[in-house]
Amino acid sequence: MSFKSSGNSGAFAWFYQRITGIFLFVILLLHFTIMHFTGTGEITYENIVGRLSDPYWKMLDLSFVVFALYHGLNGIWMAIQDYVRSEGWRAVIYTILVLVGVFLFFLAAVTLIPFGLK
């Protein structure tokens, strides 16, 4: 069987869902462990801001946000394609997902970036 790629086959989404999944596996379990199990990360303003002043934590947290938003919203998009057939509704939903992603990335970025730089 020979295929011609339509350029929109979903193979990209499928592949990156798995790549981001592997990254999230490591970072999400680490994140939860630090926050809830080891007692190293009591959730106070001082503690968090102290960590965020370290550029490595900052970069890690920013990439965490990007990967999680991409993986989550892309996952919703893959499921939507299973259930919604109409092109019009797909376009509406896709636009909403992109806007939600951009808005939350913005919210996270303005929160994470300034600490330690002021």
Partner: protein
């Protein structure tokens, strides 16, 4: 895309029963998949809420303390233990999906699912106990 669809393909793939139809025939793989989809959606809604809550950091310590107090009630603490279960299931079943897709794991997909269920129970209960103890102290 113009693919020829044999009547058999049409019958087995396009007209197959869906998991939300009452006479759908369940098997282990479909059970694993439905749970994965539901847990994925739950995690997305949690993530949206989480970013919203944490962004209060940028409004200073007072605003942050206030929002943390609102989500620090016993109800939220119990929900957090539930969240841990959802995370563990999605994370380990997600790794199972990846193993099945990339490393010929389909031969062992069912055994892998039992391993996922085992890890899920152990880690959820273990983590849940630690979280419950933190809650009491």
């Amino acid at each position: 895309m113009s693919l020829y669809m044999s009547p058999k393909y049409k019958e087995q793939v396009l007209d197959r029963k869906r998991w939300f139809e009452w006479d759908y025939k369940w098997f282990w793989g479909s059970f694993a998949w439905v749970l994965h989809r539901l847990s994925g959606w739950a995690l997305v809604f949690y993530l949206l809420l989480h970013i919203w809550v944490i962004h209060h950091l940028s409004r200073g310590p007072a605003a942050f303390d206030q929002v943390m107090q609102a989500v620090g009630t016993p109800l939220f603490k119990v929900l957090e233990i539930g969240l841990w279960g959802v995370i563990v299931y999605h994370a380990f079943n997600g790794m199972r999906v990846i193993i099945v897709d990339f490393w010929h794991g389909s031969k062992y997909q069912k055994q892998l699912f039992f391993i996922v269920l085992f890890l899920f129970v152990v880690l959820w209960v273990g983590g849940g106990i630690i979280m419950a103890l933190h809650m009491i102290h």
